[in-house]
Every structure is written in structure tokens, then in C-alpha cells.
């Protein structure tokens, strides 16, 4: 299993922290994992993004230039990251904030209304975790429990009720996709 993932959205949507969480979940699953924030020249252009690799073998480069999976959380990220996807790759698209649809036909696209689901749980900010829950279901790269365990390590100062809400968002995303 080798999953190279790009997660992209506006700064503040939690795409960078969702990436750390995913990498930590990989470690919880005894996988090798790497995380790299958008950095250098890529940072210009209004979108934040990060690269994550989880692998049961060696992690090659942490720079994911041809991802197996892309999670796009906002409109400008779609045209930027859709072309990068590997043939047959998976695109998780936040349909709450993205009206366009991908033009490629050689990829699998799953639309998840992340913000709507998050709002129903009472907090718009946890849309990133809804997307991550969907990712877990669709790829099976890490387990849902491991992401919940990872939260305790990554969000060290989070209040217990916030962690509970985060877990609900993960589960809601998991249940929102087939």
C-alpha cells in the first residue's frame, strides 16, 4: 500500500492540520508516514495545501507530485490539483463550496458536502474532518479508530468535548460515502 495524498483549500480550512492528523494516523497503524506543508513558490496563489504519504513500505519523496488521492476543499484548488492526479486516482471534492466539476474522465470523483455536514453537527470549522472521514472509508489506508487516536496526539490542548465533536465529524464523513 502506497498512498500519496494532496489536501488543498483556503488557509484556515484546516487542510494542513488534517494532513498532520492523517500522517499521525498512519504512524498509529504502524505505517511509515510523511507530511509536507505547502512551501516555497507553491504558497503563492491563495490556496494552502499539504502532501501526505502513508506506506506499508518505504516513503519515497515527501513531495507528492502525482497523488493517488486529492482532497479539494475550495474552488481554486480544483483546477490546480485535478491535473496532478494519477490516472485512476481518487478526487474527494467538497461540494458545499465547489460548484465546478472535474473535466477528467480517467479519475474517480466523490462529492461530499463537507461544510453542510459539519454545520449540522454545529461547527463549520470541522469540515476538514468530514473530508478525512470520507477519505478513510474510500481508501482504507488507515482505520477510523487510528485517526481518533491520532487526534489526542496532534490536538494536545483540545478540550474533551471538542475531541468528541471532531470524532463525530470523522464518522459523519465516513458514513456519507459508499
Amino acid at each position: 500500500m502506497y498512498q500519496g495524498i494532496r489536501i488543498a483549500g483556503f488557509g484556515g480550512q484546516g487542510v494542513v492540520s488534517a494532513g498532520i492528523l492523517l500522517a499521525q494516523a498512519g504512524v498509529e497503524n504502524k505505517l511509515n508516514a510523511s507530511w509536507l506543508p505547502s512551501y516555497g513558490p507553491e504558497m503563492r496563489g491563495g490556496t494552502a495545501n499539504c502532501s501526505v504519504v502513508v506506506s506499508d513500505g518505504e516513503v519515497y519523496t515527501p513531495i507528492v507530485s502525482a497523488p493517488q488521492t486529492v482532497i479539494v476543499m475550495n474552488e481554486p484548488s480544483l483546477p490546480k490539483f485535478e491535473p496532478m492526479l494519477k490516472k485512476g486516482g481518487l478526487l474527494i471534492l467538497n461540494s458545499s463550496l465547489i460548484n465546478s466539476r472535474p473535466t477528467r474522465t480517467d479519475i474517480k470523483t466523490v462529492c461530499v458536502p463537507c461544510n453542510e455536514i459539519a454545520q449540522k453537527l454545529g461547527m463549520d470549522r470541522i469540515a476538514n474532518l468530514v473530508a478525512l472521514g470520507a477519505f478513510v472509508k474510500l481508501t482504507g489506508a488507515v482505520t477510523l479508530e487510528s485517526v481518533a487516536d491520532a487526534m489526542k496526539k496532534v490536538y494536545k490542548r483540545a478540550k474533551p468535548e471538542m475531541l468528541e465533536l471532531n470524532k463525530k465529524a470523522l464518522k459523519a464523513g465516513f458514513d456519507a460515502v459508499e
Binding site: G26, A33, Y60, K153
Partner: protein, 388 residues
């Protein structure tokens, strides 16, 4: 197996340095290595050490100079332009025969450059960026795990040969997080043997000691004498990693982050029926030329992959000589090496093509330049490097 933890490269480096017994750190902020002093400022005091945010890079390296003279495991870290400023201090440390650790988390250059990860300081690190005949031991980690474990190795070597050591990393290694484990038990510096040269506390009737950077009477003898230790280092400390090199048609040579992109290329080459291996220098000085020279007898070509414009390739050519064609796949000034591009270059090298290969001669073909004219160079840079 030790459970691995997820750590940021710069933080793994700082934690690894404390575990290696570093008890003095001086530095001055610069991206992309800021997490190193940040971590040190929070944790080195708990280990009984001292952290100083100096007023400049020059001050920081000279504080290390003083602390190293006492035999304390001392270090500084910075990024490319900051390391340029430290060169005077480094050459003095070398002339005073003092072990210490200098970390360069490289960024784009020359000059102020950019904050992107890069490898443009290879010459500076391996040729001596300061004046005079001297060397520093240069270690090139390619993972967060090595970033965490190399401070220990650096001090063991630096103290053994009484010379400064450098860890040459880059912005991406420093900024990335990765699962890693430390491969050594924490060092208690109080249990390390004392040096007979250190200007530590003058007691128990020991004689007077001085540390000199200039001994005044016979410089030639000093320099020639020191070179014996350099020879010993070259003879015994060449370190490298090799993958699938024995039966490779093309051997990739790369260090640090570039070597990670090469791993991807090696893996994909297998799927495509190409025989590609990877030779990764871990010590850049001493350069592992002995083994590389052996390996290249059978290979049809050597492809150097570097995030600079033809620096590492010079050491490779020195090691290989005329035996095997050497090509260059270059990503200078913050470009990011890419597995697919590397394979394209490897194919070109085998077929005599040009795609993916860089050479100054080819690059300048048809180019004319009038220094008195306001000349629009018209070259558009991109993130993918300099290759055709």
C-alpha cells in the same frame, strides 16, 4: 523495533542534538531552520545546557568557538545566507582544531535567495567556505530519522578527528514531518571522557592550557600536520548507501532530499524494465569516491541528480574519471526533483539523447551577451529545474 513517532525534521534534529549531549547552542533566526533554535530555547535548559539567541550569525559562531574550546558539545544552526556569514568563524574553528557542529538547512541562493529547500551550498560545505586549507566533515541526511540521529554521529567524528562537523540538510527536510526513531541512547556529557586540550576548570594541579587558532611560529608545519588527520578521515570515514547498483545500467547519484526523488525513480524503473540503481553519499566530505569508482565499472551511465546547477557532479566526475559517461539532472534555486523527470534523463543518458539533461555548454548554445546593452534575458524560471 522501537515505536516510531511523527516529528518535524528541524525538531528531530534539535532533539537529536540534545540527546547527543549538546549543551551549548547559539543561533540567529532564519527560515527554514527556525524550529531548531525554537526547540532548543524550550528544551536545552532542562538538559542542563544553555541557549543563546545571538545578535547575529557571526556572534553565534564565535560563541560556539568559545564554548567548543571548553570541550562542551556546542552547535549552531542556520540557513544558507546565514551560514555564509559564519564562514570566518568556521575557518577559525578549523584552525584551532575544535570539534563542534554547524547545521545548514539550505534554501535557494545565491544571495538572499528564497525560502525553498535547495542544495546550492554543496561547494561551500565541501570545499571550505572560509579561507585557507581546511575541511569540515559534512553529513547529508535524507530523512527526518537521519536528521535526528546524525548529531550524535557528527560529534563522535568531530571529536575523534578534532575538527568541525556540518550537517547539510535542506528546507524540505527541515519542514517535513516523518515517522522516525532515535537509534542511540541519550548521551550524558558528564560521562564522556575529558579532552586533554580543553580549557575547562583549572584544578587538581593540571598545567596551563591554551587553544590557539594561530600558533605563530610555523604555520606550514601546522597545516601539513593537520592534513594527516584529513587523510585519515578520507581513508576511513567515507559513508554511503547503495540500492540496486550492482547490476544497474544507470546509477543515480544524489544526496539528501534529491535522493528521495531518486528512490521513486528506482522503484518506477523496475516496473518499466529499466535497471536503475541509486548511490547516495552520506558523507559529502569525505566524498565516498572509492566505492563509487568500483561500482561504475559495469554501469553504462551515471546520472547525477542535484538541487543545484552542477556542484555534486564535479565530485562524481573526479571519482569516476573517463570510465563512464556522467550526466546531470539539475533543479537549482528551489526546484523540486521529480521521479518521472529523473527517469526521462536516465533514458536520455542511455540513448544519447538530451531530454532531462543539463550542461552549461548546451545551455549557452546560440546565446550571445553584450554587457553594455540593457539585455532582457527572457528566461522563464519554473519549479521543475533547469533541464531541457
Amino acid at each position: 523495533m522501537t515505536q516510531k513517532t511523527l516529528r518535524k525534521g528541524n525538531e528531530a534534529l534539535a532533539e537529536g542534538a540534545i540527546r547527543a549531549g549538546v549543551r551549548f547552542f547559539a543561533g540567529y533566526p532564519i527560515t527554514p531552520q527556525n524550529e531548531v533554535p525554537e526547540y532548543m530555547s524550550a528544551h536545552i535548559a532542562d538538559a542542563g545546557g544553555a541557549f543563546v539567541q545571538a545578535e547575529s550569525e557571526v556572534a553565534a559562531i564565535n560563541m560556539v568557538y568559545g564554548a567548543a574550546a571548553t570541550g562542551t558539545r556546542s552547535m549552531t544552526s542556520s540557513s544558507s545566507p546565514g551560514v555564509s556569514l559564519k564562514q570566518e568563524g568556521i575557518t577559525y574553528l578549523a584552525s584551532a582544531d575544535l570539534p563542534c557542529l554547524i547545521v545548514n538547512v539550505m534554501r535557494g541562493g545565491p544571495g538572499l535567495g528564497s525560502i525553498s529547500g535547495a542544495q546550492g551550498d554543496y561547494f561551500q560545505a565541501t570545499r571550505g567556505g572560509g579561507n585557507g586549507d581546511y575541511h569540515v566533515i559534512v553529513l547529508a541526511p535524507n530523512s527526518v530519522e537521519e536528521l535526528g540521529n546524525f548529531p550524535k554521529l557528527a560529534f563522535d567524528l568531530a571529536e575523534k578527528y578534532r575538527m568541525p562537523a556540518m550537517i547539510l540538510a535542506d528546507g524540505i527536510l527541515g519542514q517535513m514531518m516523518e515517522s522516525m526513531a532515535f537509534n542511540f541512547d541519550p548521551v550524558d556529557p558528564n560521562k564522556l571522557g575529558k579532552f586533554d586540550w580543553a580549557v575547562d576548570i583549572h584544578k587538581n594541579g593540571r598545567g596551563k592550557r591554551n587553544v590557539f587558532s594561530y600558533k605563530g611560529d610555523n604555520l606550514i608545519a601546522d597545516v601539513v600536520d593537520r592534513a594527516k588527520r584529513y587523510g585519515l578521515v578520507e581513508e576511513t570515514e567515507q559513508r554511503f548507501e547503495e540500492r540496486n547498483c550492482e547490476d544497474a545500467d544507470v546509477i543515480l547519484v544524489a544526496y539528501g532530499l534529491s535522493s528521495r526523488a531518486c528512490l521513486e525513480a528506482v522503484n518506477h524503473a523496475k516496473e518499466q524494465g529499466l535497471k536503475v540503481g541509486l548511490f547516495r553519499p552520506i558523507t559529502l566530505w569525505p566524498f565516498p569516491s572509492k566505492r563509487l569508482a568500483q561500482l561504475t565499472d559495469k554501469a553504462k551511465g551515471i546520472l547525477v541528480v542535484e538541487q543545484s546547477l552542477g556542484q555534486l557532479v564535479q565530485d562524481v566526475k573526479l571519482a569516476v574519471g573517463d570510465k563512464t559517461p556522467v550526466g546531470l539532472n539539475a533543479y537549482p534555486a528551489g526546484g523540486q526533483p521529480d521521479g518521472a523527470q529523473i527517469l526521462t534523463a536516465a533514458r536520455s543518458l542511455l540513448s544519447g539523447g538530451k531530454e532531462g539533461l543539463f550542461s552549461l555548454q548546451e545551455h549557452a548554445k546560440g546565446f550571445t551577451y553584450d554587457c553594455r546593452r540593457d539585455l532582457a534575458l527572457g528566461v522563464q524560471g519554473d519549479n521543475k529545474g533547469a533541464n531541457k
